[in-house]
């Protein structure tokens, strides 16, 4: 099993953190994992992104040329990565922020108004967790339980309320 996931959006939307949350869950599930952020000029063009690989074998390149899952949190990111997604892959996009449909018909798509859902549930900045939750519906992803367990494990005691909130948002995304 090898899953290649790209999280992309504007700086500040928490795409790096969403990727890190998944990477931690993979580590706790004893999978091989890598997390690679973009740190170049694309950060300024609205497509800040990170590449997460989950695998049961040692990971070769941490660079993803053809993701199995794309999590797009703004329009430039969808436009940049849509064609790279592997046939049969999954695109999760925030339909509240992206007024565009996926043009391909050989991939699965989840349209989810993540920012709106986050706002309605008490914290507008946690759209990233909603998106992560939605991506867990993919058949080869880590289970919702494992991700929630890992969020609890890796959030400092002093910020336990935040862990609860993150878990809530991930679950809302998963159940959408």
């Amino acid at each position: 099993m090898i899953q290649k996931i790209i999280f992309a959006g504007f700086g500040g939307q928490g795409v790096l953190f969403a990727g890190k949350t998944l990477a931690y869950a993979g580590m706790d599930e004893e999978l091989q994992i890598s997390w690679l952020p973009s740190y170049g000029p694309e950060m300024r063009g609205g497509t800040a992104n990170c590449s997460v690989i989950l695998s049961d074998e040692p990971i070769g390149s941490p660079v993803i040329t053809s993701p199995d899952i794309l999590i797009a949190m703004n329009k430039p990111s969808l436009e940049k990565f849509e064609n790279a997604v592997a046939p049969g892959g999954l695109i999760v996009l925030d339909s509240f922020l992206i007024d565009k449909k996926v043009e391909r018909d050989d991939v699965d798509v989840i349209y989810i108004p993540a920012k709106q859902l986050a706002e309605e549930n008490g914290n507008a900045t946690l759209g990233n967790m909603i998106m992560l939750g939605a991506s867990l519906k993919h058949k080869d992803m880590i289970s919702l339980e494992a991700v929630c367990r890992s969020v609890e494990e890796h959030t400092p005691q002093s910020r336990a309320a935040l862990a609860e909130l993150n878990k809530k948002m991930i679950t809302i995304g998963y159940q959408y």
């Binding site: 990477a23 580590m27 890598s34 997390w35 070769g60 390149s61 941490p62 660079v63």
Partner: protein, 353 residues
């Protein structure tokens, strides 16, 4: 080994250094290495150490020179253009026979170049970036775990041979996070004493002198030749490499660092297609694993060196193969990373010749 944590390569280098008894760090920020200095800035004061952001790379390396002379385990880190600035100091440190660890998280060059990963500082690291006859121990990790492990090795060997050691990563290794576990920390006071260090005589012994200026030629030659003897021991005893599927390989790749991981995937793809490919991954770039490459040249049909440069390590591979078999090269540079599929295609091109 402790429980695994998720960390960036840059942070793992810093944590491993402090656990190896390093309590002195002098640096100057530069992408893609800055997280290392940032981690040191946060952690050093908590562990009774010194973190200092110098006014320039030149100042930082000279602070390393001073701390190393006083016998401390000391580190500096930078990325390509910053490492170029440090070269004068590195030559002095080598000339004064002092141990230290220098980190280079390589980015595309020449000049200011770019900030994406590259391996184009191989010549600078292995052939003497500064003036004079000298060497650095050069380690090339290919994962975050290996970055952490090699820091301890680099400090130990630098002390043993009284010379600077360098760890060469690239922007990708520095920035990526992988699970890593660390060894139990060593306290600086538990490290072996350095009899030669200039840390005060206490009126009990003759004074030690740290110097790299010798105006009498026969004296300088004698010192340089004594150093050469140490280098010869290193060439014999300190070579590190990893082999993957080389026993029956017709085509052997030679690659280090991040690229070696990508090549390993290419080897798997080629094997699935019935093509006998293998990989030799140098872990020390100096001393270079020439012997194993020369041995494998008896059974392999050809070599293909893959680098994120226009072809630097390939020269050492050719010297090692010594004309026995053809040595080809494939590389991307300027921050571009060779893709697994492209490496496979390149290999097939030469195999069909």
């Amino acid at each position: 080994m402790e429980k695994k944590v998720l960390m960036k390569g840059n942070e793992a280098l810093a944590e491993a250094a402090m656990r190896s008894g390093c309590r002195h760090f002098f640096g100057y920020p530069i992408t893609p290495q800055t997280e290392l200095a940032a981690y040191m800035a946060k952690q050093m004061p908590k562990r009774g150490g010194t973190f200092l952001q110098a006014e320039s790379e030149v100042a930082a390396i000279n602070m390393v020179y001073g701390a190393a002379g006083a016998g401390a385990r000391v580190m500096t880190s930078s990325s390509s253009p910053g490492i170029s600035l440090k070269q004068e100091g590195i030559s002095y440190i080598a000339g004064a026979d002092l141990p230290c660890v220098i980190i280079n998280i390589v980015r595309g060059g020449p000049g200011l170049g770019g900030i994406q990963p590259a391996q184009s500082d191989y010549f600078q690291a292995t052939k003497g970036g500064g003036h004079g006859d000298y060497r650095l121990l050069v380690y090339a990790p290919s994962s975050v775990q290996e970055m952490a492990d090699l820091v301890g090795v680099a400090f130990d060997k630098a002390d043993t041979y009284r010379m600077p050691a360098m760890i060469m990563g690239d922007g990708m290794l520095g920035q990526m996070m992988e699970p890593v576990s660390f060894k139990e920390p060593i306290a600086p006071e538990d490290l072996p004493q350095k009899e030669w260090a200039t840390c005060g005589t206490g009126m009990k012994r003759k004074k030690n002198i740290i110097n790299s200026l010798y105006l009498t030629p026969d004296e300088l030659e004698e010192l340089n030749d004594a150093r050469l003897k140490r280098y010869e021991t290193i060439l014999k005893d300190e070579v590190l490499f990893e082999e993957y599927q080389t026993e029956d390989a017709e085509l052997i790749f030679v690659a280090y660092g991040t690229i070696a991981r990508i090549v390993m995937s290419s080897v798997n793809t080629l094997r699935e297609q019935g093509i006998k490919a293998g990989l030799i991954r140098p872990i020390t770039l100096w001393p270079f694993p020439s012997e194993i490459i020369n041995q494998r040249a008896d059974s392999a049909k050809m070599f293909l060196t893959v680098e994120m440069s226009q072809g630097q390590m390939v020269e050492d591979v050719r010297l090692a193969v010594n004309g026995k078999k053809p040595v080809y090269f494939y590389g991307r540079n300027g921050g571009m990373v060779p893709e697994q599929e492209a490496i496979v295609e390149e290999a097939k091109k030469y195999l069909q010749k």
